[in-house]
Symmetry: none
Subunit: 405 residues, 2 copies
């Protein structure tokens, strides 16, 4: 049996240092050729800067969760941050709440909410309430804030258009709970149900809130009802500071990734949406942190749109921008990878392992000449679970001491 080197072991070996690590996540990076024998998006792209890092660095392929498993973004990011994604299952509600900057406490129950339209019989006729404006959504959220529940605090926060976040805070709240959105028209929203006996009370509180919300919204057609999804608890993960001794910061334009970073205690830095703006943020805050998680979103969206060429072109743009930034800042360790694959061929996240390159002065480079799926599959890091990315990065940054005598 392989020895179980879990996060506790890594944490026990962490030592202080002034080295700097950059983890650059190109969302949905991994791809698949459109034709057998063809090239993937990354193989098609001309990426001289990434190729140079791969040449001087060491490469491999990571499985975000495990072979054959298509990961959601939440667990994939947790794994890359070194947290076991199966042990720590995070609801989408908690990620959404964190993503909009809500100060979610350990033990809080969070849900994503949608305004929707129901007919007189209570059956859903529009799951997004005619896509009401963000302004209208915020106004309705204001009304929902008047709802009070026994012994718990409630928080309602607008997100965008018809979306909001609901948080319950109190003693003994717990999941797992079912969702209320039936994902189809013509039937009524489902009740929240407890999937374990100890979650009954929490389910009852959510159902009570929904009933009160329905009363308040009755005259606000098309937004005359709500559905709740991704109801789950903030597990209160130990921070990267506690676990690794790292002052960690996130540079991410999209709420969900900012949320994933907050979950592990990273400071979320202000940034614009473009890679250029993200690199500016990196430079601005360079002196203040040891670890930077930089998230680049757009190639994932191109993959989900099935747009092979756009994904290629976005990869090339990223290459142009990050090359000079990395050369200027000279991090001690650079890791470039994706959180998962999003092949244009599949128009969705996929299970394919994800190319990864690690550059450091001490990395013992391999024979990989180009950053690509084919070459990374032959890289000296081999194929490994994403949870090993942080131990490798920390080791290369000389931030782990020896195990045993």
């Amino acid at each position: 049996m392989p020895p179980v080197v879990d996060q506790t072991v890594i944490s026990s070996l962490a030592i202080p240092s002034d080295t700097k690590i950059v983890l650059l996540v190109l969302d949905g990076l991994g791809g698949v050729p459109l034709q057998p024998g063809g090239m993937t998006e990354l193989e098609t792209a001309n990426t001289p800067h990434l190729d140079a890092l791969a040449r001087d660095g060491i490469c491999g392929m990571h499985d975000p969760i495990g072979p054959g498993i298509t990961p959601g973004s939440g667990p994939a990011h947790l794994a890359m941050f070194g947290y076991d994604p199966l042990e720590h299952q995070i609801g989408r509600g908690a990620l959404e709440a964190l993503g909009i900057g809500f100060d979610l406490h350990a033990g809080d129950m969070a849900a994503r909410g949608n305004f929707c339209t129901v007919d007189d019989a209570g059956l859903i006729t529009d799951r997004r309430a005619g896509r009401i404006s963000t302004e209208k959504g915020s106004e309705l959220v204001g009304l929902l804030r008047s709802i009070e529940l026994p012994d718990v605090q409630t928080f309602v926060e607008p997100v965008k258009e018809y979306r909001f976040v609901l948080v319950l805070r109190g003693e003994n709240l717990t999941g797992p709970l079912t969702e209320t959105d039936p994902q189809r028209l013509g039937i009524a929203p489902l009740p929240v149900m407890a999937l374990r006996p100890e979650a009954e009370l929490t389910a009852a509180l959510f159902n009570q809130w929904i009933a009160l919300a329905r009363g308040i919204l009755a005259d606000h057609r098309p937004a005359n009802m709500v559905t709740l999804r991704g109801l789950d608890k903030n597990p209160g993960l130990p921070s990267m500071k506690e676990v690794y001794g790292l002052r960690a910061a996130a540079i991410a334009a999209y709420p969900m990734y900012r949320g994933a970073a907050r979950l592990v205690g990273m400071d979320v830095l202000p940034t614009g949406e473009s890679v250029e703006e993200e690199m500016e943020a990196l430079k601005t805050h360079w002196a203040s942190y040891d670890f930077f998680f930089v998230h680049v979103k757009k190639m994932d969206s191109a993959g989900e749109d099935g747009d092979f060429d756009r994904k290629v072109s976005l990869i090339e743009q990223v290459d142009k921008v990050i090359g000079p930034a990395i050369r200027q800042l000279q991090p001690d360790v650079v890791v470039v990878t994706g959180d998962h694959s999003t092949p244009a061929l599949l128009r969705s996240h996929s299970w394919h392992p994800v190319p990864v390159l690690l550059y450091s002065r001490h990395c013992r480079s391999d024979e990989v000449q180009h950053f690509s799926e084919r070459e990374c599959a032959r890289g000296a890091l081999g194929r490994f679970p994403a949870t090993e990315i942080m131990p490798l990065a920390l080791a290369n940054a000389l931030r782990l001491t020896k195990f045993g005598a």
Copy 2:
């Protein structure tokens, strides 16, 4: 989780055979290029005999403890012997006692001791008692042997200069315990403290011994006090004979590795320090054992000195000597690897995986032509935990039967 093929499973499959296995450990073998794109120590070395074994054998890279973990020598050797190094954490005291040839029993508590100097207020003024001579140290150890404790036997053994080993033997002794060396001057030695309630009695016995030692040493300034470190129990591992059915022997010049071999029940054979003498010992005892652990120390020291060229030259010397010996003895299985990497670049043990070659008549060889980090990284064994070395060696020696029907 992958199926748990632990040592119990391997043990249940072990069958008798008259095949012979040699595990040749070149301490600190793995290296790193001095410049990105350059060659490692092993890649630089001219090693025709090891290359021939690699060509006919199968190669890969092992992680002694886990990716990113820099191993101490103790756990790295336990892993290569097939014992989970995280489950069996061995205190330095036990390894030191075993290393000097002390007949440590299962359940014995062992500690490394230092003579030190304290002033009239009991504060440490010299942690090494002015580096007293080995002769003086032995004389003082003789005095300490007069100490008696209730219900336990005590053993004190000189090591070198100001260092000694203290062993308590009795019922119900257990750790974990804290160390007494404060690692600073100007404060008094710390008391031994139990880190779990069941260790209270053992802590009290050590403290009682220390108090008596202080009385005996009072007039022996500069060695007028002692500190104890690495206090822990010999966990009493099952022997390689019990686990694998192997008559196992160690050929190792350095105490610590002899200690690690004794921990798993190997006979430790007499040998000189040079590789030539070690090969002579191998030939002399060839008929009497099934498994030989041969440990070659010097390249590790060269790595720790940052001496790239000396490490290269030592690897070449080993190649010259072992080639003919292996050809003469014709072991059924030869494994050549290191316990960890010690790159001259880092002047220390490191986390880098370690090249490994396995030669047997049945190994299904791969395309590796030279024994080197780069080629082993592409070898058919892939990258694997060190605990898999023994199952692979036993299988190739036809010493494991089929699992299931």
